[in-house]
């Protein structure tokens, strides 16, 4: 199980949850599982999200492994300037 | 509109071109003589990227008409080095990384060379005010000012 922390702007789309637990071994599986659990998360995920795994920010990768018990945060997609 | 024939001298070479009276010297250097070292950053004399010398006097070539070059002596960045020997300013700008993107560099080199010819021992304030019409957005000017000051010092010691 992975506990995914959402930014507060997303909670209204996830039944008010701050943390969503899903089965996933990598970032891609995790995002798909989030949408299965809360279909309304499709829009923000399509708009682009980044993922922080134990503080390491994954800007866009869908294949990054998620270790058991890792601290996972969803973030607004990071872009450069 | 009828074009005007102009005979002038650029970096010591006699050249000729036909230009519309509305075309600037910068347009003529870049488009008719393929001397693209002088850049157009503003077209209003505010950025100095098009700096050249006209009969030895530093000017913005965007504020000179092509027709006004008749019978004049023009100096551009392409004429600063002597053959394969860079002018001390050019070498110092490379050594000090006094450029990042490099778009303002030709104008600054032409302007700085004109300064050192007139004032071989400028203060930092004199260099900064002389170059106030040469905008640089990358460097914060720090390394540019140091390069000009130290080149002046080297050139003084060399003579």
């Amino acid at each position: 199980m992975v506990e995914v922390h959402l930014w507060s702007g997303l909670r209204s789309l996830a039944g008010g949850c701050e943390v969503v637990s899903v089965e996933a071994r990598d970032t891609g599986e995790m995002l798909r599982a989030l949408v299965r659990a809360h279909p309304e998360l499709q829009a923000p995920i399509d708009a682009g999200v980044s993922v922080a795994i134990d503080g390491r920010v994954i800007a866009s990768g869908l294949t990054e492994p998620i270790p058991e018990g890792a601290e996972v945060y969803l973030m607004q997609r990071l872009r450069g300037g | 509109m009828s074009k005007i024939h102009v005979s002038t001298t650029v970096n010591g070479d006699a050249v000729e071109y036909l230009c519309d009276p509305r075309e600037t010297l910068l347009d003529c250097l870049r488009d008719k003589l393929s001397l693209t070292g002088a850049k157009e950053g503003c077209g209003t004399g505010d950025c100095g990227a098009c700096s050249v010398t006209l009969d030895g006097r530093l000017v913005c070539s965007c504020l000179v008409l092509g027709v006004e070059a008749e019978g004049k002596e023009i100096g551009t960045v392409e004429g600063i080095a002597e053959g394969d020997v860079l002018h001390p300013l050019q070498q110092k700008f490379i050594d000090y990384a006094a450029l990042q993107c490099g778009i303002c560099t030709p104008g600054i080199l032409v302007a700085a060379k004109a300064l050192l010819e007139q004032n071989p021992d400028p203060t930092e304030e004199e260099v900064r005010f002389w170059l106030a019409g040469n905008l640089c957005r990358c460097t914060g000017y720090d390394k540019i000012i140091r390069a000009v000051m130290d080149t002046a010092r080297d050139m003084r010691e060399a003579v």
């Binding site: 922080a52 450069g80 | 157009e40 990042q100 778009i103 460097t139």
Partner: protein
């Protein structure tokens, strides 16, 4: 990826300061920038732009222009939907870009393109524009972010808002970001002092000295060539191909030398128009913006209206922070309100924090990224309040900040925990710097500020090929915007163990290398550098294989040292070191050419922090400010070429000084930009600035083999606040509005006295 400790010190090439490979070209006028290209039979393009901030386009009559014999093509948006020139059915960002590149049914800002001409000369093209007749129905406009959110504000585009915007907000509010943790009200209750204040910043332009320029060729066969100044030619290729309805691979884009970008050249403006004109005229078309077009129609940064509330205990401990950030990003979605919110409180360890950002549309040009987009304005507001808290509680701002600073393991205001970061180290270095304790003269004030930026990785491809004589050529895809060729060559030299001078770094075009993300997000030295290192290591593996073959020992018994293959240990056998050039000399006959390459999207860009110290002097009679001393302290992770790292620090500080003091977009009541020339858009000139001192702090980034963190953007985050704090101290009045122009400072002095 763990940092390779052996390499974190004892570098041979990394950390030295050689001359840049393209130095000679840049000082002799030989370097070819966007407007320096020429093609046989070339036409010159020009663009007609809307004089109105908001107007319905009723009719465009181009017949008089088309009748001129010098005119070879005219395009308008009509050509797009006909898909004669442009692609049909675009959606999302592509649609927004198309809409910005050439107005559709409405002109959305002063300077919005409405038609374009290609003619046999630049003068003929400009003359032809005067013959194009456009009938406008002028509509009500709004250019101020707060006014654009009011219920009676004109609607710029219905239905532009996404899922994030709650019911009942004005349609001009198109995105909302909300994040944070804890219970801010409980946190404020614990504070001995809570300050709440309102701050605004104006839109500023990246101000690169080179106007956008391109040379486009597109034939009826759908195959095109494009030369342009851009921060990323693959994004130009992808976008232009989509807008013109051709296959991406059929458009080859070559990046010219680039005369500055700072984020403003990460998208397209004139390139699709030039391609459309070229396709219609069936001739090459050169299109160059005037300075006025650059200001009116390319990306300034967003302007901001911000409310900040922060609580502090008597001992300087921060208890809670809350911020609302309204960003105006022009007539399209995209204002970086999310970044502003996420960066705002990132430097501080806050048990209770909440940040809300709104992206708001107005009748202004589409904002483009500008050096750490969104972060500098947030730092201005937040660091001003922290400064005021320190003043009122009688605390030293450089003592208070480390006490609250984010460090490894701190839960960031935007969510996750920080890995190894260098904020505390920059604060310690700033405190230890003689500048911080130097005496001030009467009328002078000192300010400090911290700043934060995420940095970015992005898609990256690098290819490295060895020559028979043992020299190496490196092909990278990130335009060299400030000396990155030198950094790439240093990193390749470090791995290969051959002289820096024997390495030639080229910016490849889109036809000769795999996809590369734009030169943005401070990613070039990080990502292209990482890819260069990996590509060089790939080549080294092959070199070791050749040596192993020659020696008849297993490849794992060979290691690479100082440019030579050597036996990995005593039991590997006795062989003289085999130099790279000896291996490449007959590589054609020992297995073929030796190259290395790397393609990936590196995900280890380390965030970066900076602390700036500024002394400012205010003339009490005129409100004129002079920056008299400036020191930048920033974590570079590892400085590959320290001189160019210093250059990035100094450049960011200088742009910040302009933003803080004099730069601003000024709109008249008619919604027209009033200062679209450098005469009145006042960027710092040489005589405005002092020398800018720099301190490079090196806290290695675990996500890069040599520890590199991006340095380009973080340097513009602290200046606005640091200068505002210095000016406020000198003037004895808190400055809450940027730019701090003399009339504003004098008014503050009068109000105060």
């Amino acid at each position: 990826m763990a940092l390779d400790d052996r390499k974190s010190d004892g570098f041979t090439f990394v950390g030295t300061r050689p001359n840049r490979p393209d130095g000679l070209d840049k000082v002799t006028g030989r370097a070819r920038f966007g407007a320096d290209a020429h093609a046989p039979g070339m036409l010159h393009g020009a663009i007609l732009r809307s004089p109105h901030a908001h107007a319905r386009i009723l009719r465009i009559d181009t017949s008089k222009a088309e009748a001129l014999k010098d005119v070879k093509a005219v395009v308008t948006r009509a050509d797009f939907s006909d898909k004669v020139e442009f692609a049909p059915g675009l959606e999302g960002d592509f649609w927004n870009i198309l809409e910005n590149v050439m107005a559709g049914d409405k002109a959305l800002y002063d300077g919005h393109a409405v038609a374009a001409v290609a003619a046999t000369s630049a003068l003929a093209a400009r003359d032809a524009l005067k013959l194009i007749e456009v009938d406008y129905e002028v509509l009500p406009h709004v250019t101020d972010v707060d006014k654009a959110m009011l219920m009676d504000a004109p609607v710029i585009r219905q239905g532009a808002a996404d899922y994030s915007v709650p019911e009942g907000m004005h349609p001009n509010v198109v995105r909302k970001h909300e994040s944070g943790h804890g219970d801010v009200e409980a946190g404020f209750a614990e504070a001995d002092l809570v300050i709440e204040d309102h701050f605004t910043t104006e839109a500023t332009h990246q101000g690169y000295i080179e106007p956008h320029a391109c040379l486009a060729t597109l034939g009826a066969d759908g195959k095109g060539e494009l030369w342009c100044c851009t921060q990323g030619h693959w994004i130009v290729q992808k976008t232009c191909a989509a807008l013109l309805g051709i296959e991406t691979a059929n458009l080859r884009v070559t990046a010219s030398e680039i005369g500055g970008g700072f984020g403003g050249k990460t998208t397209v403006f004139i390139e699709p128009v030039a391609l459309a004109l070229s396709r219609k005229a069936n001739k090459p078309v050169k299109l160059v913006m005037s300075r006025s077009e650059v200001f009116r129609a390319t990306g300034p940064t967003a302007s901001a209206s911000m409310d900040i509330r922060i609580g502090m205990k008597k001992d300087g401990t921060l208890t809670a922070a809350q911020g609302t950030f309204r960003l105006q990003g022009g007539a399209f979605p995209g204002g970086p309100a999310d970044f502003t919110a996420m960066c705002a409180f990132a430097p501080y360890n806050l048990p209770h924090v909440r940040q809300v950002g709104y992206d708001v549309m107005t009748n202004r040009p589409k904002q483009a990224a500008y050096r750490a987009p969104g972060s500098p304005m947030a730092a201005f507001a937040v660091e001003s309040v922290i400064d005021e808290l320190c003043n009122q509680l009688g605390l030293d701002p450089i003592e208070v900040r480390p006490k609250n600073a984010s460090r490894e393991g701190t839960k960031a205001s935007y969510g996750p925990r920080f890995q190894r970061v260098g904020l505390v180290e920059t604060l310690e270095a700033a405190k230890a710097h003689p500048h911080y304790t130097a005496p001030l003269k009467p009328g002078q004030g000192r300010g400090i500020s911290c700043g934060f930026w995420f940095n970015h990785g992005g898609e990256t491809s690098v290819s490295l090929a060895l020559s028979e004589d043992g020299s190496a050529q490196v092909m990278v895809g990130t335009p060299d915007i400030g000396g990155s060729r030198a950094s790439m060559a240093l990193m390749a030299a470090e791995v290969l163990g051959i002289p820096y001078e024997n390495i030639r770094v080229t910016i490849a075009d889109t036809a000769t290398l795999g996809y590369n993300d734009v030169s943005h997000g401070s990613r070039v030295t990080y990502a292209s550098g990482l890819a260069t290192i990996k590509a060089a290591r790939h080549a080294v593996e092959k070199l070791c294989e050749r040596a192993a073959k020659k020696w008849g020992i297993p490849v794992d018994a060979v290691k690479w040292e100082n440019g030579c293959a050597v036996p990995s240990g005593p039991n590997a056998g006795e062989f003289d070191p085999l130099p790279l050039a000896d291996i490449t000399a007959d590589m054609g006959r020992t297995g073929g050419p030796i190259s290395g390459h790397f393609e990936a999207t590196p995900e280890g860009a380390g965030v970066s922090f900076a602390t700036h110290i500024v002394d400012a002097e205010v003339d009490p009679e005129t409100g004129k400010t002079k920056v008299v001393r400036y020191t930048v302290v920033q974590d570079a992770g590892k400085a590959i070429h320290p001189t160019y790292v210093e250059g990035q620090f100094q450049g960011g500080a200088a742009q910040g000084i302009g933003w803080a003091l004099n730069e601003e977009y000024i709109y008249g009541a008619d919604g027209r930009l009033q200062n679209s020339v450098f005469l009145d858009y006042r960027i710092p000139v040489a005589s405005d600035l002092p020398m800018i001192d720099t301190v490079i702090v090196e806290v290695p980034n675990p996500g890069h083999p040599f520890g590199v963190r991006g340095v380009g953007e973080t340097s513009i985050c602290p200046p606005l606040a640091a200068i505002a704090n210095a000016v406020s101290a000198a003037a004895g009045a808190r400055m809450r509005q940027l730019p701090m122009s003399p009339p504003r400072i004098l008014a503050a002095l009068k109000a105060d006295g």
